[in-house]
């Protein structure tokens, strides 16, 4: 019997036993576990004191989101007791954060006043018994929500987050793009959808797109540090979590949703999408059920560049999901189904590439079951069990239309998390186990064996606050087995056989308020990443990537060590952040250009997966200064240098020094942004990699938002690359053929109701 089946049977038997004999599992002390709390309040605008509707409110630690009513009131009902961070976001206003402490049976009222951007510093008015806590613990390093998300909305997730400090994007045409954070991407920078892995293959190759449509995203968070180990052991780069709220986790008390239309001239196309959340309790006699659904369609043509049209870059994407949630006061049970499919092209014209490029079709279907049980017993706060299954298929068509390559990945993912309250030294934390089972197959022009992969991880995340000092840490242990369908020897790859890996990862972060305006912190992290099926066993031409990739069946795991020191300053009209970091790997796994042609395909350069010592050093910073009422001057810069340890050789595909400066004007219902972004030349290149020239481009954006007819209307009109500058991104694999897109008039309309 296979190990996986055994594990399933053991777990099934365990849960079945608990189900039929609840008395064994439940002691009398747990009787209070179903007590929940409520958080209510009103939100007002600072100058007029008028109520503010359509404020996006989130209890960060729970992932609960609602929007305030048109009369400014809001209600979170059936909240499990605990300490949370309430975040309020509204277009044109500063984000507000507020710590709230909820006990069973409490109804806490927290009224907020939102302040216009570029005005005096925010303050919070709290009416309630609980003490106000200033510190925001779970602050992401970047957070796109509301108007910022709408302004930055791009064709892909990478393009959407690409303006954030420290982030660049690796691309191969407009569709297959992935964010790169501090020079790290692929499996070292996880991209999640509602906290779950996407099940796609975008981490493995630059021609594989991320299976997430940004149109229906409500928030995109970038996380770094100890909490990233909740999602995986190898995430030294961080985590990009795209939140769509697919499964409703808190009971809505009205119908709400949004719709978005977007268009651009540079690709003569656009996208549209909508989401809708409905409470079913009025229809079901008060039974706490809710449904949510969303759908989107994107259709764009070939990209126009200052040098002409870039052929085979058209894109069509369809996305849809639906969910049903049961929201009793003791927890949540939600089931969701989602389908995503995309057709896109990879431009041609390279040595070894098809003259007309390669066409790719991608489909991903997903099923999610989320359960949460609110406990609030002794030190145990909440138990969560999330399951997801995804079926991913990706087919590369050659210029004649016949199949060149097909990838299929079936993934089961199971996550069990126990949220802990105050215990021993720590205030709160999470203990959990997660398991993944992957079934990987290829067909077409490939010699890579089909394989199965099983992984199991256990993790613990804890945090503690001492007055002005905040401390959090995480440890994780992972086991992974990769089993090819058949064992054989390959002169290229080595002995293809079952491989097993295990390893520890851990992280520690300390942060202190040096003064009322200055915060300093240090973060240490040890990551562990076992090689993927592709890194071990791949052998075959990757037509879309214009390479012949060869794995190494003997590769070991990759251990990374990260150190970061950072400062955050908020003083009057000044807000700034700077960080220095050092990331070291003793066996950094990547496909290295051998500089010679493949013996099988002597028209394609051979890339071999190797594990080498690597050191990445860098710095990043961002500032915002309210130079006058309504005016904000902003700037950011990021730099990273990647070198092979002990060698005078640079790592390929490392972004150059890049950043931007801008001036924003916010007033009433309008905001205007003038931004200049650019990059220095990249001359520190890897072996067989070409240098890239520096560049600059200018964008101008206007944003208007107004409540009308009981709905919030938000319109963004922008011109990207205003001067139609011809420039090439160092991380673009097609930079030798075509520059980046030219001038683009972009319109994004979003209505919240």
């Amino acid at each position: 019997m296979k190990r996986r089946t055994k594990l399933q049977l053991v777990l099934l038997a365990f849960f079945a036993l608990l189900t039929v004999t609840p008395g064994v599992a439940v002691s009398a002390e747990v009787a209070s576990m179903t007590g929940t709390a409520a958080l209510v309040g009103e939100i007002h605008e600072e100058v007029s004191r008028q109520p503010l509707g359509f404020v996006h409110l989130m209890l960060i630690e729970l992932g609960y989101t609602i929007s305030s009513h048109p009369d400014g009131s809001y209600h979170f009902f059936r909240v499990p007791p605990g300490e949370y961070t309430l975040r309020a976001t509204r277009i044109g206003y500063r984000d507000q954060f507020q710590r709230v402490v909820l006990a069973a049976g409490d109804t806490l009222q927290v009224d907020l006043i939102l302040h216009h951007k570029a005005m005096s510093l925010p303050d919070v008015e709290v009416k309630g018994e609980r003490e106000r806590i200033e510190t925001v613990r779970h602050a992401p390093v970047s957070d796109l929500v509301g108007g910022r998300l709408q302004r930055n909305l791009g064709t892909t997730i990478a393009e959407t987050v690409g303006r954030e400090p420290g982030i660049a994007q690796r691309s191969m045409g407009p569709a297959p793009a992935r964010p790169v954070l501090r020079g790290l991407s692929g499996d070292r920078l996880l991209i999640l959808e509602d906290g779950q892995r996407t099940g796609d293959l975008s981490g493995g190759s630059s021609d594989h797109a991320v299976a997430i449509e940004p149109v229906t995203a409500s928030q995109i968070e970038v996380l770094r540090g100890p909490e990233t180990l909740l999602y995986g052991p190898g995430v030294l780069g961080g985590v990009v979590d795209v939140k769509r709220g697919e499964i409703v986790r808190n009971e809505p008390h009205r119908i709400f949703g949004s719709a978005l239309l977007e268009g651009g001239t540079v690709h003569q196309g656009g996208a549209g999408g909508a989401s809708l959340t409905l409470p079913l309790s009025p229809l079901l006699g008060g039974a706490p059920f809710a449904v949510r659904m969303d759908a989107s369609l994107r259709k764009t043509g070939d990209i126009r560049t200052p040098s002409g049209q870039l052929g085979n870059t058209a894109l069509q994407t369809r996305n849809g999901s639906g969910s049903l949630s049961f929201l009793p006061k003791w927890g949540v049970i939600g089931v969701a189904g989602a389908a995503y499919d995309s057709e896109y092209g990879i431009p041609g014209g390279f040595v070894g590439g098809h003259p007309n490029g390669v066409d790719i079709e991608m489909q991903r279907n997903r099923l999610d079951v989320n359960s949460a049980l609110y406990i609030d017993w002794v030190r145990l706060k909440r138990l969560e069990l999330d399951y997801s299954f995804s079926s991913y298929q990706h087919t590369e068509y050659e210029s004649s239309g016949s199949v060149g390559m097909r990838f299929g990945v079936l993934t089961d993912h199971l996550d069990l998390k126990l949220h802990l309250g105050r215990h021993a030294f720590f205030e709160s934390g999470v203990f959990g186990i997660s398991g993944d089972w992957r079934n990987y197959a290829t067909s077409g022009l490939s010699f890579t064996p089909d394989a199965r992969e099983s992984s199991l991880g256990a993790f613990l995340y804890q945090q503690r606050e001492f007055n002005a000092f905040h401390f959090d840490m995480a440890v994780r242990y992972d086991l992974r087995t990769i089993q090819p369908e058949s064992e054989r020897s390959s002169v290229f790859v080595g002995r293809i056989r079952e491989r097993s890996f295990s390893g520890f990862s851990g992280a520690l972060r300390g942060e202190t308020h040096v003064s009322r305006t200055l915060t300093a912190g240090v973060s240490l992290m040890k990551s562990y990443r076992s090689p993927t099926i592709e890194e071990l066993f791949s052998e075959g031409p990757h037509l879309a990537a214009y390479s012949y990739e060869v794995g190494d069946a003997d590769l070991g795991s990759e251990d990374g060590y990260g150190t970061e020191i950072y400062l955050k300053k908020e003083y009057g009209r000044f807000r700034g952040h700077t960080a220095l970091f050092l990331n070291q790997f003793d066996s950094y796994l990547y496909p290295r250009n051998t500089g010679r042609f493949s013996p099988r395909r002597a028209d394609l350069y051979e890339y071999r997966y190797v594990g080498v010592g690597v050191q990445m050093t860098g710095a990043e910073g961002s500032v915002e200064v309210d130079v006058a009422d309504h005016f904000t001057l902003k700037g950011s810069a990021s730099f990273v240098k990647g070198q092979l340890t002990g060698k005078d050789e640079y790592l390929p595909m490392i972004p150059p020094l890049h950043g931007g400066v801008g001036l924003s004007w916010h007033c009433c219902v309008w905001s205007l942004d003038l931004d200049m972004m650019g990059a220095w030349p990249q001359r520190s290149v890897g072996e067989f990699e070409e240098p890239t020239a520096g560049w600059a481009r200018v964008d101008v954006t206007a944003h208007y938002q107004k409540v009308h007819g009981g709905m919030l209307h938000s319109i963004v009109i922008g011109i990207e690359n205003l001067l139609d500058s011809e420039y090439r991104q160092h991380l673009s694999r097609i930079k030798s053929v075509m520059p980046e897109p030219g001038r683009n008039l972009k319109v994004v309309y979003k209505v919240y109701f």
Binding site: S371, G408, L410, D412, L414, F597, A602
Partner: protein
């Protein structure tokens, strides 16, 4: 207490559902068994003349030898053998193809591409009347000069093997 037990039971039932679904992936991988074609495996090519004398050997990316012919002349019928990556032995593709066809698999095609057709042209085996095999070709000299050829094994519309550039001189 009863409602607490009920809530735990419902939660555990959902957990049970999750664990039951964990078997979803099964063997239904969409990429498995999808017209997986049989590729000819080769990492080198030998070109032999009519007397089976070795003219050129491309072992991996290393090329030894060259082809020389006269303007307005030809090379005669040249045959090819390939180097198998696993066995390390040179083999006649004719024999391998017979095995493949017996197994109901698709046939493969030899394609010879000349760098400059102003210097030389290639005639493939199936275009030559009385050719002993379609795994061969003939080069025809057009004008004096140097060019290259590339040998490929085509399988449907993609090459299973592509040789390095092989030098050709027309006197």
């Amino acid at each position: 207490m009863r409602s607490t037990i009920l809530s735990i039971q419902i939660f555990l039932l959902s957990a049970l559902l999750s664990l039951t679904l964990t078997g979803c992936s099964g063997d239904d991988n969409p990429a498995r068994g999808n017209d997986n074609p049989h590729h000819i495996e080769a990492i080198g090519v030998r070109i032999l003349d009519v007397s089976q004398t070795l003219l050129v050997e491309a072992d991996g990316t290393e090329v030894t030898g060259s082809i020389t012919l006269d303007r307005d002349g030809d090379t005669g019928f040249l045959t090819v053998h390939f180097l198998h990556p696993d066995t390390g032995e040179w083999y006649d593709p004719e024999e391998l193809e017979e095995e493949h066809e017996a197994g109901g698999e698709e046939s493969h095609e030899l394609v010879v591409t000349v760098g400059s057709t102003e210097i030389a042209t290639a005639t493939h085996g199936e275009e030559i009347e009385g050719a002993p095999t379609h795994w061969g070709f003939r080069l025809n000299g057009v004008a004096a000069g140097a060019t290259t050829i590339r040998i490929e094994i085509y399988h449907e519309d993609h090459p299973d093997y592509t040789s390095p550039l092989i030098p050709v001189t027309v006197r």
